[in-house]
């Protein structure tokens, strides 16, 4: 028992990143469940969460990955992944916003035209009476 605690304490960063990854995945699933997040926008988050979890658990793989990139302190490699994922997610948001502003523009235009048509129609009806 004491032994396990020792291992945990000496690998605090690993324990922390495992807990962090699991919380991230859990939060994303909860958000989807309560319809606060659409499935198509959650995939990147979930993908990142599982990658973090994977590398946090299998420390030797993280070591290999870090060595390949020439990173001396392996957990920094996790940080790099974190930054990259944040980047991808932000880019995805820019794309989504661009799409939204396009459909928003179309809506504004159609509403403007419809209102003008309605006004014309109303005045025709009034004239008829």
């Amino acid at each position: 028992m004491n032994n396990l605690l020792d291992i945990l304490i000496s690998n605090r960063i690993q324990v922390f990143s495992v807990i962090g990854s699991i919380s991230l995945i859990f939060i994303i699933f909860e958000l989807i469940k309560y319809k606060k997040l659409k499935e198509q926008y959650s995939l990147l988050w979930l993908g990142c969460g599982f990658i973090f979890l994977f590398f946090s658990i299998f420390k030797p793989l993280l070591q290999i990955f870090a060595n390949t990139l020439g990173i001396i302190y392996a957990p920094s490699a996790l940080l790099l992944m974190l930054i990259l994922s944040a980047f991808f997610i932000l880019i995805q948001y820019s794309v989504v916003i661009s799409k939204l502003s396009e459909s928003n523009k179309n809506l504004i235009q159609e509403v403007g035209i419809l209102k003008a048509e309605l006004k014309k129609l109303q005045s025709h009806v009034m004239d008829g009476k």
């Binding site: 523009k105 504004i108 235009q109 159609e110 509403v111 403007g112 035209i113 209102k115 003008a116 014309k120």
Partner: protein, 243 residues
């Protein structure tokens, strides 16, 4: 002979002082013109001023879209109502109604799909725009030649005439802000033929130019990027079936 249906698309943003006289001048030029004012979410009484003339249809946009979004609204309206020709005409009094016939002539003779009223085809008497603005326009001219191989001298002119097929195309595809130079590339890329005719313009009667100071640097970067990107895109136009 049935006469052509012609619509004048007038984008207006805070033009309460000018809009009335602009509409009047258009109706005096040709009573058959349908004037469509697109009030782009103005803060002033542009809508009232335009409606009070009783000579124009006014489309009131519920939010400000920028000049491109406003003009495109006009194309959509023109497309829904099957107009034969559309004239884009500034709401600030810069353009002259008497010049419209010069823009329409090449369209009617099937010489081109789009006709731009230009200040630089030959030296005209009227307003020539500022020095900095003229440098920008020179850069656009070079880009036009490189990207679509058509010689267009006045890329920023918002005084333009379009035929039916171009209206349908632009109703679906039109840039949002600072649209004029980008649209030339878009149209050229999609095999529309653009022609310029010399027109006179007058200095603004009121209101403020939308582009000044630091904004002009942003304008150049944004527009040049948009022109280069538009040139990279695939052709989107599909030939309309002959009616």
């Amino acid at each position: 002979m049935i006469s052509d249906k012609i619509i004048i698309i007038i984008p207006a943003y805070n033009e309460e002082k000018n809009i009335h006289s602009v509409i009047n001048s258009l109706k005096q030029e040709n009573a058959n013109f349908e004037c469509l004012v697109i009030n782009d979410g103005s803060a002033d009484d542009t809508q009232k001023a335009a409606e009070s003339s009783g000579l124009a249809t006014v489309v009131q946009l519920p939010a400000n879209l920028g000049i491109g979004g406003a003009v495109q609204t006009g194309f959509k309206y023109a497309f829904y109502h099957q107009f034969d020709y559309a004239i884009q005409f500034d709401g600030d009094g810069q353009h002259l109604a008497s010049e419209i016939k010069h823009l329409l002539a090449p369209l009617r003779n099937k010489q081109c799909d789009v006709c731009i009223g230009s200040r630089f085809v030959q030296k005209t008497e009227g307003f020539q725009s500022t020095f900095m603005r003229r440098i920008g326009i020179k850069i656009f001219k070079v880009l036009n030649r490189l990207l679509i191989g058509q010689k267009i001298t006045d890329s920023t002119s918002g005084f333009r005439a379009y035929n039916k097929e171009t209206i349908a195309f632009l109703a679906a595809n039109y840039p949002t802000d600072y649209p004029e130079p980008e649209t030339i590339i878009l149209l050229g890329k999609n095999d529309f033929i653009i022609k310029e005719v010399s027109v006179e313009m007058v200095e603004r009667q009121g209101g403020e130019s939308s582009i000044s100071g630091l904004k002009s640097a942003y304008y150049m970067v944004k527009v040049v990027l948009a022109m280069l990107m538009t040139a990279q895109r695939h052709k989107i136009r599909r030939k309309m079936k002959d009616e």
